[in-house]
């Protein structure tokens, strides 16, 4: 493999505390090293910003509902499905890009890893087929557990060990990365057309509450010592007044500490918290409660969050929160897709237009920005658009422009048709903070890497770490002043190194890289109860045989297995 020396760039690396100093980065054999030989290729990064490759902690980029969203929305890509110059394939789709476009676009923005946020175990093979076909970026997927019958039955009796053993089995079967929990209990209730809107609503038949599920899954996660924490999509998403439920759920983690060998400190990651930070009682008196939520998050060190920024686009909402999508369809009457998955989960999809002439959507936009702007520790708050729910991930550069420039976001805010209403319902207008490049590096690199348990190799530029490096055409001394300039710079890396190879140069894809699938192999003590229950459930309730459930090796030819031993 070739050697590189990235010279004279402004380096931003929270792992080493480097805040824009000029520093050379040496790369050899896919790793960052102290120094290289004189034969190394020199990349002149003078006047440019150098960061580690970014990590996406929560996006819907591969799997059955993502794909349903793609193919049932031909109008999302009509006239917008072209091949760009370079060695690329045709790239289609605005709100839900095809796998090719997904890989290329992440890479062009400087990302080297993406977490698929919700994998229904029964559909794991599909998720991995798409991951396999997505170029360049490394990926992993979180199986969903929050409405799984095994989990509901074990946790009803507070059987944490059985829960953990079952989770370990599923991770191995599905090549999954960790524990995702979506609308705990509510999605099972949805199988009867019902929902759980607070964490104390009992789940029909199973006689367990969302609070018990959340707590139990956190305990199982720490019992196993997984690299990532329990990853929660809370109950009552998207409704006015839901911030109370949000804080109630977060409180469940109080007193729990992370037990793992990966340097992870949080026990709970609460995702797209923008959708969960609403006050008011209806859409008329709807208001931001971002401050209240973030005040709580700021003081609880064992929590991490991601934002879920609304980008004011026409997009496609999709979630395992089946009842929410049905509710949303009732509001906008656009085409509704739903799949209930036996014993495990559900998913819904509805196209959505965040119309900037609507005060509520603009307020949601403001809430999304308030959250990171109120975050005291950028290592615990990560930028997402909950792609494609609040907006497509391709809008990250625009989100950064709003966060990094008060001028840019205020221009938009004050220009809204219902500006007064939005300003009244939110606190964004009073916030002067601008996110710095260093903070951005924490929110998009070092932070998510740490939260995912990948900080040893990813998210930083320290010698020994993986050579995933993004170089932007941004001179920190002359930071671009307009929105479009900021966007352009973040949307087209000058260079993207992935595993020490140049994959993108000046926004043009040059190499497909060496794409890897990450998954976690957790070793647990032999558990006859769980083995028996698995056999029983497949015999009686599943529609496929146990022996046809697992994801074959060939679906992840380049796997990066993270081993965990919970037998001690």
């Amino acid at each position: 493999m070739s050697e590189f020396i990235i010279k004279n760039g402004h380096v931003f690396d929270p792992v080493q505390g480097i805040k824009g100093d000029k520093k050379d980065i040496a790369v050899k054999d896919g790793k960052i090293i102290e120094s290289v030989s004189s034969g190394a290729r020199v990349i002149n990064a003078a006047g440019k910003t150098v960061m580690a490759g970014a990590l996406e902690i929560h996006a819907h980029v591969a799997g059955p509902k993502v794909n349903a969203g793609r193919w049932y929305r031909p109008e999302d890509k009509h006239f917008d499905s072209h091949k760009k110059p370079g060695m690329t394939r045709i790239e289609g789709g605005k709100s839900i890009p095809t796998v090719f476009k997904t890989g290329y676009e992440y890479a062009r923005m400087g990302f080297t890893f993406a977490m698929e946020a919700a994998m229904p175990p029964l559909y794991a093979r599909h998720v991995h087929e798409e991951i396999h076909d997505t170029p360049i970026i490394d990926e992993a997927a979180l199986p969903v557990f929050g409405n799984n019958w095994f989990i509901l039955e074990y946790l009803k009796n507070h059987e944490v060990e059985n829960t953990a053993a079952y989770i370990a089995w599923v991770l191995r079967q599905t090549k999954g990365y960790g524990i995702k929990c979506v609308n705990p209990g509510g999605t099972e209730a949805w199988a009867w057309g019902l929902n759980c809107l607070t964490i104390h609503d009992p789940v029909p038949y199973f006689e367990i509450t969302p609070a018990e599920i959340i707590k139990g899954l956190i305990e199982a996660n720490e019992y196993l010592g997984l690299p990532h924490s329990m990853h929660l999509h809370q109950n009552d998403l998207g409704n006015p007044g839901n911030y109370k439920t949000t804080i109630d759920s977060l409180k469940l983690a109080e007193g729990m500490t992370a037990k793992n060998n990966f340097g992870r400190e949080q026990v709970l990651h609460s995702t797209h918290i923008q959708f969960h930070s609403y006050g008011g009682t209806n859409w008329g008196d709807f208001e931001s409660k971002a401050k209240e939520v973030m005040d709580y998050v700021n003081k609880q060190k064992n929590l991490t969050i991601d934002t879920g920024n609304v980008t004011l686009d026409e997009t496609t909402t999709m979630t395992a929160d089946g009842p929410f999508e049905h509710h949303l369809h009732g509001l906008n009457h656009l085409k509704w897709f739903n799949v209930d998955v036996e014993l495990e989960t559900a998913a819904g999809i509805v196209p959505f237009i965040y119309d900037p002439s609507n005060a509520v959507f603009c307020s949601q936009w403001a809430v999304g920005l308030e959250i990171p702007l109120y975050a005291k520790d950028p290592m615990r708050c990560f930028i997402t658009t909950d792609h494609p729910n609040a907006g497509p991930f391709t809008r990250y550069p625009r989100v950064y422009s709003w966060l990094m420039s008060k001028k840019v976001r205020d221009e938009l805010l004050n220009g809204f048709k219902k500006a007064a209403k939005v300003i009244g319902a939110t606190t964004l207008a009073n916030i002067d903070r601008e996110i710095t490049l260093y903070e951005l590096a924490a929110m998009t690199r070092a932070g998510p890497a740490k939260a995912l348990g990948l900080m040893k190799d990813y998210g930083g530029l320290k010698a020994g770490m993986n050579a995933d490096i993004a170089i932007y055409n941004i001179n920190p001394d002359k930071f671009p002043s307009t929105g479009p300039e900021i966007e352009k710079a973040f949307a087209n890396v000058a260079y993207l190194f992935k595993d020490g190879k140049i994959c993108v140069e000046e926004g043009k894809v040059m190499d497909m890289g060496h794409k890897k699938t990450f998954w976690v192999d957790a070793k647990v003590k032999e558990n006859k109860q769980v083995a028996h229950d698995v056999k029983e459930k497949f015999l009686r309730y599943y529609s496929i045989n146990e022996n046809n459930y697992s994801v074959p090796e060939s679906y992840a030819p380049h796997q990066h297995i993270i081993a965990v031993d919970a037998t001690q």
Partner: protein, 441 residues
């Protein structure tokens, strides 16, 4: 010693039964018996060992006879044809694996092909309807575990999906359906009193071609509004009674088939059935599912979906963009309008299943057909390339009618020297690359 291969996936229909047991000979060459399969599935495995199977490519001669050629010759001929043709129909894909499709799409993107699958003459209408209004659906296990009302509308699983009723929809006992059939009420709506109708508790005979009107009447009845005395031959009292009964369901499911997709209105019949299902969700829980017929036709839609964002009829003919318009880039329309210059058929038999005018148009264009066996299409093609049977002689991923993917199993070895779809397509792809590098197009 003969041995049993268990958990075998049946490569016939979209039900994708995965509990077959196939007994094979010691040398892995011959299938000796099949257990658990329906009559059609068993026949599929039995076909593998029929004598006289074509094992090498054949080229049609001027006198109408076929001459054996080598795989290399067939590959070269095919690659040249694809590179030369300005617009090629690349139709089929339903009986092959997703892995093979993926390679096929790469070829299509290079040579300007239009990739279409068997949905085009089957559940294409359903896909159009889902594009228009979405679909509330579920996996088949949900039906088994929860459904207490099951409606078969314009479908006849007794004939087309023989194990569907016993595995998922009528007879099985599930978690919340411990009484099995007794706990479910089964409706059948059809223009014929089919063998499926005979299994139903209630049969509604609709006049052929009046499904849209009848579904409209159901929606009207669900809203409690007045109806004309008869709709599609069905008395209003019967419509109202069924609508009320469906509202009292805990979990209802509508299965529909080609009785809706093929009759007047096509996609609209599905569209309004989906809308009825949507309405029912204001009262209780309801789902609807297409009875996808051809084994992995669903998989083709999925792979096209994640690669191009359209489920079928994907027009890559410009090579730098992907487009989709049913009625334009669908196989039968392309052939009817003579919009393509060449045809490449794989893993299907349009000769048996397309209307004759489309096939007359096809027969006048240079054609390659890739199929394990002689079929109607191979006999009007310039070249027939035999391949291993996917799901029998080679594994690969397939998607069930509810989009659940299952990795199929190889049961026996293919005949000596016979290529798989994946191997063949890879070789064609390589040859296309060589020709393009030489400025072939």
């Amino acid at each position: 010693m003969p041995k049993d291969v268990t958990d075998v996936i049946c490569p016939f229909c979209g039900t994708l039964c995965d509990d077959l047991i196939v007994t094979v000979s010691d040398d892995n060459k011959t299938i000796l018996g099949v257990k658990n399969a329906c009559a059609i599935g068993a026949e599929k495995f039995n076909h593998q060992r029929l004598p006289g199977r074509v094992q090498r490519p054949r080229m049609r001669q001027a006198d109408g006879s076929y001459k054996e050629i080598t795989y290399d010759e067939a590959i070269d001929w095919t690659a040249n044809l694809l590179v030369k043709s300005r617009k090629t129909l690349m139709y089929g894909w339903a009986s092959t694996s997703c892995q093979a499709m993926s390679i096929g799409h790469e070829i299509a993107e290079k040579v300007g092909g239009i990739v279409d699958n068997c949905a085009t003459v089957c559940h294409g209408s359903s896909l159009i309807a889902i594009e228009d209004v979405g679909v509330p659906s579920c996996t088949l296990g949900e039906v088994k575990n929860r459904a207490d009302r099951v409606i078969f509308w314009g479908c006849n699983p007794a004939h087309a999906h023989p194990r569907h009723m016993s595995r998922y929809s009528i007879f099985p006992r599930g978690f919340f359906t411990v009484k099995g059939h007794k706990g479910r009420k089964i409706y059948c709506v059809d223009c014929r009193y089919t063998d499926t109708a005979k299994c139903a508790d209630e049969f509604i005979q609709v006049q052929q071609g009046y499904d849209y009107e009848l579904l409209n009447a159901f929606r009207t009845a669900v809203r409690g509004e007045a109806l004309p005395d008869f709709v599609g031959g069905v008395p209003k009292e019967k419509i109202q009674a069924m609508a009320d009964d469906l509202k009292s369901a805990r979990f209802g499911i509508i299965f529909f088939g080609m009785g809706l997709t093929h009759t007047m209105g096509r996609n609209h019949n599905i569209d309004i059935a989906i809308n009825l299902t949507r309405d029912m969700n204001d009262h209780t829980k309801f789902a609807i599912m297409a009875m996808r017929g051809h084994w992995n036709v669903t998989g083709s839609g999925q792979v096209l979906g994640w690669q191009y964002g359209f489920p079928y009829a994907v027009d890559l003919s410009r090579r730098d963009q992907a487009r989709h318009q049913t009625g334009e880039t669908t196989s039968v329309d392309l052939l009817n309008r003579n919009e393509v210059e060449a045809c490449f058929y794989i893993a299907t038999d349009p000769g048996a299943h397309f209307p004759v005018d489309a096939m007359i148009s096809s027969s006048r264009k240079p054609t390659v057909t890739v199929d394990p066996h002689i079929n109607c299409t191979t006999e009007i093609s310039d070249i027939h390339i035999p391949v291993a049977m996917v799901g029998v002689e080679v594994g690969g991923c397939a998607y069930r009618m509810d989009n659940v993917p299952i990795e199929t199993r190889k049961v026996v070895d293919p005949p000596e020297g016979m290529l798989t779809d994946e191997e063949l397509l890879t070789k064609i792809n390589t040859r296309v690359d060589e020709l393009l590098a030489k400025g072939g197009a």
